[in-house]
């Protein structure tokens, strides 16, 4: 009894998924391992946006989706959401971060020194085409400094606070389960500080960059100076039910502080995320810097940028327009035709505004 044009829908969707998977081919643990080893910055980006720190799962998600980033992040978020919450790790102070890279554009030198660490910032971006000719690329060995920089360093803003250049954020003593959790409660405005930072931490990199860049170009009031940018590893300290604290391991994190003059002091914007992702942190911190007092509906207003940089929501909504909308379309068409008929009845002018 073939009724609906799409009858056979179940079979069609199954076959279309098969086609996608067949074209991508199978994959195994070795592929996942290879993805993890060869694409650490992609893994970092995905872990940050998924707000799930697990390199193996991130690599698996990338392998399973053929690198369709929005799909990979959605896979990880959907997996994450069902996991039990065993513990909330102890808060981390900046000077406890095992730091690989820490630079400041605000001062020529900073307490603890500028630590360039791993970066492509000053590399010449020349495609290594000779690899395709068969010449393997082997990186030059790093020559260790005779005087290694300290692994643990205070933040630049701590120095500024001591020198009365900045009002440091008030210490928030909230701990453990009392810390507001964006994944367990809705984002409401004005947003809780924890929610804002969590939302930025899991925001989609490209989205944050687009809006942050708009602010940098002049659609924001504050011009960011990178006070400090840091790539580090953070210790995850959790408490055993018997009361002892222990380390559950270290995770890669990045964070950025950007500043701008605000009256007689410096205003500060902050962002941090899982994994090493400098662009995202600087752009997010710029949005944070610009958000106090931002005009409603502007790109630097908290509600505007937090809603619109949520990658799983925005990408999902974008692709949902592929779904059939013929009922709503039919309904609009009916209103349009009726209005047109009415107008034709009154005059010959047929210029009309369509339904939204």
């Amino acid at each position: 009894m073939a009724y609906v044009a799409t009858r056979g829908g179940e079979r069609a969707i199954e076959q279309s998924e098969r086609l996608f998977r067949e074209e991508m081919g199978g994959f195994d643990r070795d592929r996942v391992e290879e993805v993890k080893k060869s694409l650490p910055y992609l893994i970092d980006r995905v872990m940050g946006e998924a707000s799930l720190y697990d390199e193996d799962l991130a690599a698996l998600a990338l392998a399973q989706t053929g690198g369709e980033l929005y799909e990979a992040v959605l896979l990880l978020r959907a997996w994450r959401t069902t996991q039990p919450r065993l513990q909330v790790a102890a808060p981390i102070e900046q000077d406890t971060l095992f730091t690989h890279r820490r630079i400041s554009a605000a001062f020529k030198d900073i307490p603890g020194g500028q630590v360039l660490g791993p970066t492509l910032d000053y590399a010449h971006r020349i495609l290594a085409t000779d690899v395709l000719q068969g010449a393997p690329y082997a990186p030059e060995p790093v020559e260790p400094a005779t005087n290694p920089s300290p692994a643990y360093q205070p933040s630049v803003s701590a120095w500024q606070a001591e020198n009365d250049l900045i009002d440091p954020p008030t210490n928030d003593p909230t701990k453990g389960n009392d810390i507001p959790d964006l994944t367990r409660e809705p984002l409401l405005f004005p947003s809780k500080r924890a929610h804002t930072l969590q939302s930025l931490a899991r925001a989609e990199t490209g989205g944050v960059l687009a809006l942050g860049y708009a602010a940098m170009r002049g659609y924001g009031q504050a011009h960011p100076t990178v006070n400090e940018l840091r790539l580090a590893e953070a210790e995850i300290a959790v408490t055993h039910p018997d009361g002892r604290q222990f380390s559950a391991g270290r995770v890669k994190v990045s964070q950025a502080e950007v500043v701008d003059k605000k009256g007689e002091k410096l205003g500060i914007g902050y962002a941090a995320t899982f994994g090493w992702n400098e662009v995202k942190c600087i752009a997010a911190a710029t949005l944070d810097l610009n958000s106090p007092g931002a005009e409603k509906g502007s790109a630097t207003e908290e509600e505007f940028f937090l809603y619109h940089t949520e990658g799983v929501e925005s990408s999902g909504f974008c692709i949902h327009f592929k779904l059939p909308h013929y009922v709503t379309f039919q309904s609009s068409l009916d209103a349009m035709r009726d209005a047109k008929a009415k107008k034709a009845g009154q005059s010959k002018s047929s210029d009309m505004e369509p339904a939204e």
Partner: protein, 304 residues
């Protein structure tokens, strides 16, 4: 106490996919949305294995409500076999082991996008509507915080003004689907993008309707026997789509909401949008038994 005491035995997946904490939050919010009909209640809205905007809000409600005995029907644009309806139905059955059905009369729970079935729903049935945009005020106020304040103040002046301007400009209200409606005389809600044809079905209905927007993280409800009144001016009555006289070319049924199918010769054909109603009509026509229930519309008109 040991670390294992903090958690539960490992399962590959919870029953109904959602974990206990997600279900409890939804339960709490469902009760509140029933207690204040038409008022949008915020909820955390977990990610589910489906893209946002594809029915994740409705899905979370369904997954919370179902048990292995719940008979589930899923429709999209009125059709059970529409690809996304098929996908959602398959998912619910897969993670919750529920029996499924295409018959609206046979279902305990109906999850739907953009339509309410043509057959009258009973008091033991729950309708779950997927909602893309839960905020009826968005066309006049895109900022959620300001819109919330407007709901708190029952400040719907701009909404009325917009409808008035449309009448002045076009001779009628131009709203297609998602017609803003006043619930229990207090909150203006969007009935989700159902056509105007379907809105009267919510008014003083016997069944409970839960509307859920996963991406926008809002849930609201229309309990049974609750007033749902489309916003209209007293001198410009509410108008449903002019489908009352149209006949379905496939099944021959007349007087229901139709899909328009453009023809090569420039004309249009019509097919009834509620696909299972079409199937039942064909079945009856071919002498295979009468399975059609009572419908909201009679002879293309909604009885007052």
């Amino acid at each position: 106490m040991s670390l294992t005491a903090l958690t539960k035995p490992w399962e590959a997946m919870s029953y109904g996919f959602l974990d206990g904490s997600a279900k409890r939050e939804l339960r709490r919010k469902m009760l509140k949305s029933v207690a204040v009909p038409g008022c949008q209640m915020p909820y955390a809205s977990r990610e589910v294995p489906m893209a946002r905007g594809w029915g994740t809000g409705g899905l979370q409600v369904s997954l919370t409500l179902v048990n292995p005995q719940t008979r589930v029907k899923v429709i999209d644009q009125g059709a059970d076999d529409s690809v996304n309806a098929a996908s959602i139905r398959r998912f619910i059955a897969r993670v919750a082991g529920t029996p499924t059905t295409k018959d609206a009369l046979d279902a305990d729970l109906i999850q739907s996008r953009h339509r309410i079935p043509e057959e009258i729903l009973r008091e033991d049935q729950v309708l779950v509507l997927q909602v893309p945009n839960p905020e009826p005020l968005r066309p006049v106020q895109p900022n959620m915080s300001i819109a919330r304040q407007m709901h708190a103040d029952a400040d719907y002046g701009r909404m009325w003004l917009q409808l008035y301007e449309q009448i002045v400009r076009s001779g009628r209200v131009m709203q297609g689907a998602s017609y803003p409606s006043l619930v229990h005389g207090r909150h203006v809600m969007t009935p989700s993008p159902i056509p105007r044809w379907d809105v009267p079905k919510l008014h003083m209905a016997k069944h409970l309707t839960i509307l859920s927007a996963g991406r926008e993280k809002r849930i609201f409800a229309v309990p049974p026997f609750t007033r749902v009144e489309p916003l209209v001016f007293s001198d410009v009555p509410y108008k449903v789509e002019e489908h009352g006289a149209l006949t379905c070319t496939r099944s021959g049924t007349t007087g229901f909401f139709m899909n328009e199918i453009p023809r090569d010769d420039g004309s249009s054909a019509f097919e009834v949008s509620d696909s299972e109603w079409g199937v039942k009509t064909i079945r009856a026509r071919d002498g295979n038994g009468e399975s059609r229930g009572e419908t909201w519309y009679k002879d293309g008109e909604m009885p007052q």
